[in-house]
Amino acid sequence: MVTGRNGSGKSTLLRILATAIRPHRGTARVEGLDLRGQTRDVRRRVALLSHHHYLYDSLTALENLQIAARFLNRDPSRKALLPLLAEVGLADRADDAPVGFSAGMRKRLALARVLLPPASVVLLDEPYGQLDPPGFRLVDRLVARWREQGATVLMATHLLERGGDLCDGAIVLDEGRLTWEGPAREVAAQSGLAAPVLVEGGA
């Protein structure tokens, strides 16, 4: 789990690891692969749930998945992709364009898109953002499944308790620098991020 205040660099870190942006300096490796020199190999292993949902608003939910499936050489048929939409609770909206979706539904469709590639590293940027409680449980379920399949999941979140229950380790960033590292369950108590707010009463 990656956490930290707004603007601390969580999304930037995930986008660098997904090779969406190039780092100005330093080196980074994903599964031993250099992000700069082996970009395409890294991309074959990584799936990113970004703030940008990577959707075409003028196409239907199913067509959005079909486009990605074709590039991945996966079966783009309705029969093959409807289960993915059912998984994220959008089976009955398969033929609707995401332009009419709520923010939560768009996030669900973006999650279905993340399920398409056979990724061994899954990067989730604020996966709970905009989702309702059933959506929270959906993310928990997907993360558990990725872990069962042997994938590494790295999520950026402000939900320390939830992330703490789900993840093994955590890091805290502040202005792009690592300020805390430890077990995910301890991040809320020890990192200083969840410090109680003291309110002075006038009585």
């Binding site: 395409r40 970004s50 959707l55 196409l59 486009i67 074709r70 590039f71 991945l72 050489n73």
Partner: protein
Amino acid sequence: MQLVAAVHKDLLLQWRGRAQAIAIFVFGATSLLLFSFAIGPNAEALRQHAAGFIWLALLLSSTLTLAESFQSEMEEHALEGLLLLPADARALYYGKALANWAQLTLLGVALVPLTVVLYDAPLPRAGGLLGIIMLGAAGLSGPGTLYAAMTSQTRAQQTLLPLLLFPLVVPVLLASVKATSLLILGDPMGQLRSWTILLVCFDAIHWSVCGLLFDRVVED
């Protein structure tokens, strides 16, 4: 395989955005009409300028078509999403350039009847004109797709795209106008072949070089 996926994607996006394509056709048709007003009712002068004005109308309309083709890619950063799958940048370029070429060819063909009516231009060799429109549209869509990608994330895309594109496609425009003019007014000196070869050469160079550069444009 990725090229097929890219072409399919872009043709589907164009089909869904066909209302915009109709608006662009109306823009092109209006341009032709206004140009004819500028010439006046002189039938001979109109006929002589027909080739130039159809290509000017197509050139002006092409900037709208090209800019529009990247709008849907940038709204939700869909292009970035495809690159991360990973989709081959070159396939994405050629897919979009081919779709833009098809749309510009259709637009050019749709403007021909208007030109015939407004400019009293005879059409003795429709097949030859179709060929020139296809080659000229390729000359606009090849570099145009690259420059549309370059300017798609800038605020002043509508200004920057023509500023970058127009100087580059001057040879394409000249060759297309000359070849079309020879088809309409006659070709006593047999120059059509030379201008057509020139167009083919420019298209080959633009499509090759732009395909190589697209990767740098979208990745950096």
